[in-house]
Symmetry: C2
Subunit: 193 residues, 2 copies
DNA sequence: GCAGACCTGTGACATTCATCACAATCGGTA
DNA sequence: TACCGATTGTGATGAATGTCACAGGTCTGC
């Protein structure tokens, strides 16, 4: 089995074990594989999101523009699924931009192109709904994470549970994701004595 | 059509228009209808969540216990769907408690009882996955809402987009939901001059 | 090597928020 | 009416965070 397909299968397995191995090529064939230079956008503010992205290499950064200030909402690394579900589901213009934070590669599940090729009750649509269930568990966590923890607790949680975020993303970028300024994040780090 | 079934159909329509009217009684039959006194819990911390709840009357409050302090994570009113997806999907003990904030009534989609009666690819399972897609759009919003807005902005947003929350829930309860103390919320309100 | 862009740390000061304490208000009820 | 419990408002004070300014470090391309 080619290395890329093997990785794709591994990432499908994160979502569900109910897809048999022989269906994997069909799922992968339903996606578009795309390589991106750092800084290239997959989704821009104002566009309608029509895809779910599965990161194959590098990472994607989702951010919101608040009166000229950038607020990072999400970082998606290898094997992570992302997109803008509200925009996709309700055909609304995107409030966010999703772009490559490093040189990256993604598998793109494009709803329109899949709708053209497959029936609404096909395996591929079932799989996309299962992605939604998977993403929902992750997003529920994210949402409550913010309500429960203070900025300092959030930083230490990331340190323990998602250390690659600290290794691969600059602190200036992480600070808005944690809901503090970069100066405060710098001081949180200094206090670990 | 009985009034209760009519309301149920209306709430199904919020999730999808793809369920034909003749399937509504089947969906409703797959649920358990339950009335709750104020303060009664549907899900307790430590239990595994096996259901999605659709609120028929009153409201549900989801909260987290942080070292003895209660942090409200969610309020679900008539027609809202809620549950603890991470616990349900991964069979993990619940980190949250879900209970009636007023005398309430709910339709309960219990996964185990539905699994016993229906096939995994049946309409009812398809509908539950569609609930997940719907909930995901709402939860995505919630999650980013916190990262983007300051406590004051959050209050004014609620004031405009979810006024019944302010009418039906005490300010002491709302404050932890907005991520501030009740005193600070009181001062935010005083400042509108 | 060097210039320039970007990133991190830190000091000084203003602002916001949490904490503690207590007063005022409102509803329901004896 | 009078009382009680729950809720909300508000003052005083200290802690946390934001803002502004600047210094030093790292990396890249010329």
């Amino acid at each position: 089995m080619p290395a890329l397909e093997e990785r794709f299968r591994e990432y499908v397995r994160k979502v569900t074990l109910r897809v048999p191995d022989e269906d994997i090529p069909m799922l992968m064939g339903a996606t578009e594989y795309r390589e991106l230079k750092k800084g290239t956008a997959l989704l821009r503010e104002g566009e309608v999101c029509r895809s779910v992205y599965l990161v194959a290499a590098g990472y994607l950064r989702t951010y919101y523009n608040k009166d000229g200030t950038t607020i990072n909402l999400n970082f998606s690394f290898e094997g992570d699924y992302t997109g803008h579900i509200k925009s996709m589901r309700n055909h609304l213009p995107s409030e966010y931009t999703i772009e490559a934070g490093e040189d990256a590669a993604v598998w793109i599940f494009n709803i329109d192109s899949i709708s053209g090729q497959f029936d609404r009750d096909s395996e591929i649509f079932l799989f996309i709904r299962r992605i939604a269930m998977y993403l929902l568990a992750v997003t529920e966590d994210q949402s409550n994470f913010f309500k429960i923890y203070t900025p300092t607790e959030r930083y230490h949680y990331i340190e323990e549970h998602n250390p690659q975020l600290l290794q691969r993303v600059s602190l200036s970028q992480i600070s808005s994701y944690l809901g503090v300024t970069r100066e405060t994040l710098s001081r949180i780090r200094a206090k670990r004595d």
